[in-house]
Symmetry: C2
Subunit: 650 residues, 2 copies
């Protein structure tokens, strides 16, 4: 009778444990117990992904002799991932006694990655594709099977992966790869389809995340397995030459035969050129890119995918589809690996696009107890409000005023634009800060001739400061006053901010209209959830990054909230794209959530108009103004603006 010795093995941090036969490899034990221990080479001592250490727990010490001594596999190992001191290859270390095995994060397929670049803390990695190293049987005249069938047999036999098929691209490259790799190849498998094949061993696959905005396209190149960001870059959206804002591009499509195709072509070309920038920056090859994730507003989303956007130009704003899509990269003209897939995040509604879905995914209001408002301001403001109980979303037609358009001296947030404004209430003298200059206008070295205009954050601060100085009234009127900075113009007055840069009455009106639209959208969502304040506000996108949250609150742009909890979210949509790129779980999360989000259509909500009118006034926001270092002293006679703000209950 043969006695088989078994030992207890405990894996940390998963806590999974079980009994295994003496001599089992750590990798085999991990597989048998369902422990997440990575391996690309399948236990051949090539990839170095299964590195572990011996741990301890009560009753089992950390004696390294609980595993077999390092043998020739580990001694000869010279893979891409160095074998760290004290670490063992799970495939080469055999269990000789009860043992605790520590699986470090780097050796897990599914993990949380700490991000250094893209401005977000932890991203889950759950790759949508995996690489498998295979040793394939050679063809035999006596039993004629296709090379593909022997590859599939190897996937089944060496990786327990069945029901896989080969795509046309890998099929056409298979024979050369097998012979070049001397019957050893690596295949990439995605959703049970082999999408790539390479001779010999390979353990890296790259991905791209894009946020296609109306103005700029931002891209990140990532390692699909480690989550590392290898390069980030941006390009202007060349569609701008067909129309500055979204609606003018839809008009272009309506007025010009083939206009939709042309817009599709230029945006795809720009994305492809950006891919070129990214791979050069990272020193990698276009062919290494196997997966792409894309967010964008509904019109950018449609144009990139080749869908005519004209239905989005008028009610009922019917999207082609709200669902997330997977499209072959080749069919979108992207010069990356032929088997690559482009994943587009779901759209939420006709004006709440895949960019909003990306922002929701990265900001995660649905993962929080606190009621969170996420606002992304562009030509339309996309507004999402909720917590893990319930999420509502809307889009408000803010127009382009916050982007500097429709403002007499307005411009984009680019060098030369006034972005910060302070006005001394007594003297009405301004101090400015301009994009591209380090110092304020009253500091040495300021170059006044380099001021070219005023951007959205600048105009918002100017209006608030003018209000605090008593120049602009609660109803938005620039009051008459005998002061060299107040310039009459017909029956209204303008404030001279700098040289010929004026804040006109029309400018104030444009900002009032834009902020009333945004605020009315927020208020509709508050109504829907029957609340009148939120716990947290995240201002996403370029506008959200530039604007001072305190001024946003002072102008009443967003609802009442603890000012300490109003902050910029950065490129939340782009981070969402990156999350979707790196994690199948994140995709399932946002797809389920997009269906669950309740859409509030501002255009058909009777209360929108009511909120809009109420939000036109500039509020006396007694909680916020002290934070600006200003004391609000209004003439007694004047009617107070709306003061929705209530004290928080203790």
């Amino acid at each position: 009778m043969d006695l088989v010795r078994t030992h207890q093995v405990v894996f940390t941090p998963s806590g999974r444990r079980g009994w295994v036969t003496e001599g089992s490899s750590v990798l085999d034990a991990a597989r048998a117990l369902g422990v997440d221990l990575d391996s690309v080479c399948g236990g051949r001592g090539i990839c170095g992904r299964c590195q572990v250490t011996v741990g301890a727990r009560p009753g089992i010490d950390a004696n390294p002799d609980r595993l077999s001594a390092p043998g020739s596999t580990e001694a000869d190992y010279h893979g891409r991932r160095p074998l760290l001191p004290g670490f063992r290859l799970g495939c080469a270390a055999h269990i000789l006694d009860d043992v605790v095995i520590d699986v470090p994060t780097e050796s897990q397929v599914h993990r949380q990655v700490v991000r250094k670049r893209a401005g977000v803390a932890n991203l889950p990695v759950d790759p949508v594709l995996r690489l498998y190293y295979l040793e394939v049987e050679e063809p035999d005249l006596a039993s004629p099977t296709g090379d593909a069938e022997r590859v599939l047999a190897a996937l089944s036999g060496q990786w327990d992966l069945d029901g896989v098929s080969l795509e046309p691209g890998p099929l056409s490259e298979l024979q050369a790869a097998l012979r070049q790799g001397k019957w050893k190849i690596t295949v990439a498998v995605r959703s049970h389809r082999v999408i790539g094949v390479w001779p010999d061993f390979r353990d890296r696959a790259l991905g791209l995340a894009f946020d296609i905005g109306s103005t700029t396209i931002a891209g990140h190149l990532c390692d699909l397995f480690t989550g590392e960001v290898l390069a980030s870059a941006g390009r202007m959206n060349p569609q701008i030459r067909f129309g500055e804002d979204l609606m003018s591009r839809v008009s272009y499509v309506m007025m010009n035969e083939g206009g939709s195709l042309r817009l599709t072509q230029v945006v795809r070309e720009a994305v492809d050129a950006l891919i070129g920038d990214l791979v050069i920056e990272a020193g990698v090859d276009r062919e290494d890119v196997l997966e792409v994730a894309v967010v964008g507003n509904p019109i950018m989303h449609h144009l990139f995918l080749g869908f005519d956007p004209r239905e989005l130009g008028s009610a009922p704003f019917a999207l082609v589809t709200t669902n997330a899509l997977e499209t072959p990269a080749a069919s979108l003209g992207l010069g990356i690996h032929g088997g690559a897939t482009v994943y587009t995040l779901p759209c939420i509604a006709g004006h709440v696009g895949a960019d909003a879905a990306g922002a929701v995914l990265s900001e995660g209001p649905h993962r929080q107890v606190d009621l969170t408002l996420v606002v992304d301001v562009g030509t339309n403001a996309e507004i999402v409000l909720g917590n893990r109980e319930r999420i509502v979303a809307a889009s408000s037609p803010t127009g382009p005023a916050f982007e500097g358009a429709q403002i007499s001296s307005g411009q984009r947030a680019a060098p030369g634009a006034i972005e910060r404004v302070r006005i001394e209430p007594q003297t009405l003298e301004p101090r400015l800060r301009v994009i591209g200059q380090e110092m304020w206008s009253d500091e040495d070295g300021f170059a006044p001739e380099q001021v070219t205009g005023i951007c959205g954050s600048g105009i918002i601060e100017a209006v608030v400061e003018l209000f605090l100085a008593g120049v602009v009234k609660a109803d938005g009127v620039i009051g008459e006053r005998d002061h060299h900075r107040l310039v009459p113009s017909g029956r209204t007055f303008s404030y001279r901010l700098h040289d010929d840069i004026l804040i006109t009455q029309n400018d104030v009106r444009a900002i009032q209209l834009a902020k009333a639209a945004l605020r009315a959208g927020c208020d509709l969502l508050l109504d829907r959830l029957s609340v009148d304040r939120v716990d947290q506000i995240r201002l996403a996108g370029a506008f959200g990054s530039h604007i001072d949250p305190i001024y946003a609150m002072a102008l009443g742009l967003v609802p009442d909230c603890d000012p300490d909890r109003v902050s910029a979210a950065g490129n939340a949509a782009g981070v969402g794209a990156m999350m979707a790129l790196l994690s199948g779980e994140s995709r399932r999360e946002i797809e389920a959530l997009a269906r669950r989000i309740e859409k509030v259509e501002t255009a058909v909500e009777p209360r929108f108009q009511e909120h809009f009118v109420a939000a036109m006034a500039i509020p006396h926001n007694i909680d916020t103004y002290p934070l600006l270092g200003r004391v609000l002293t209004l003439p007694k006679a004047e009617a107070p603006g709306r003061t929705r703000r209530r004290r928080r209950d203790p």
Copy 2:
């Protein structure tokens, strides 16, 4: 209390029966009982596909009043398919009493179609895609869903079809189709994917079946639902300019950088041009074609799919894949509907290709009790032997002699080629028939100057006739004789057949080698099944159509068989492609069979050489020769050739 009246309904020919509520439509009753009753419009009285008649059986007479009287739907019906006298629309006729419903073949989705053109009796129709007419909900500002989601909801609600997705092509056409069709569209669904969308009602989809041969490409255009052949045409395979036979094309690929791509390109262009011919002949549009099925020998199969064929040029003849493949037509450069799929039949082995699979599918040895031999002769002979118990297959290197190559005056079977030969044993005077001329050479009007050479069937008959005349001996030697038709040439003799067209000793040797290879392959398969005769022989392909089966037997080209059961199979491979085009069930049949067929590799079978040597001799086939109207009288001294033929047991 409401009483619901129910009635018994019996459907014929299926025999399905059940009880239905009074007033149910016949179509609803058929669906409830799982009866195969077609409908594209989903019961809206548009498509006319659900036509039925009232039948009878004991106890239920054929009284038309058992159904509701024809109403306005039937009165107003003016669909493409006329409503025949006495027929009712199943969707508009309601059941008022016990009733027998006859479902004619034309109203079944799955059916047998009687073929008029492609030379085969009945083909099963089991469409791989279906059309569904939908009434789609209009978009609503208050509940923003994508158009695609409402189409999928209509598929689910109106057709019980769930889990369907939309391909990128239909997605991009969806919005225009919906609006043009006023929210009524027809979609094509294939394997749970919407591959096409059209405004309003549509009930036709076309398909193409191709047999890509080394010399010619044959194509048929069919209606995917009726099975009707709308057009048939052929074109030369333009690869011929890169090499006459298969091996010279593989050599071209090996010797020329980019050669494989070039051969792929020209064959795809030829197929695309042939599509142009077919749609013009049928008066239809390229866009109407939604499905394609393709057969071809392994090298044609690989080149058409864009696979480098070099591995097929030498042992072990490894195919990229033996499996059937589905490839998007667009990726193969075929200008048909953007959602169309190209189905390639499985290959059986490195030299037994998708053409052999097509021939097996159409000839169906696996459906028969009788042991059937299917032989398709080209540069390689593909040989399949079996019955429903067991099937074996092999390929024999016959070389191109049977196609007229390697023969001194040989040529393809084209106008001017001698295809029939008779030689008077006493006088040695020949009579000939030539392709393109109606009369024999001894008849009035024969134009001797139009004879250009001799094709495969002609040379076979010449050798047999010379053997019967005692000119050619059993070992193949042309005996010395003083006769004006026997021309000395070095140490051998030639027979002058016509003007300067000679049958040389080398010609006889070439035919001996080719037939020995074919016969040895057949004998190997007989060995494998431990039999020495077959019940039936089918000679497929162009060679099989030209050759007189009796001469094939007389030369010993094929094993012993009742001569009455040796026949030409026509373009069996092409018919197989058509079967696969029209029927998903046929695809599953050949895919399962291709895996089950036992492959015999002649190159590694020790007995092949032995059979080959034995088959070199010209046999004294006593059963066959009387059928030729000849009596074989050989000089007593001469050793008899092999006489494998045994009398059939009574």
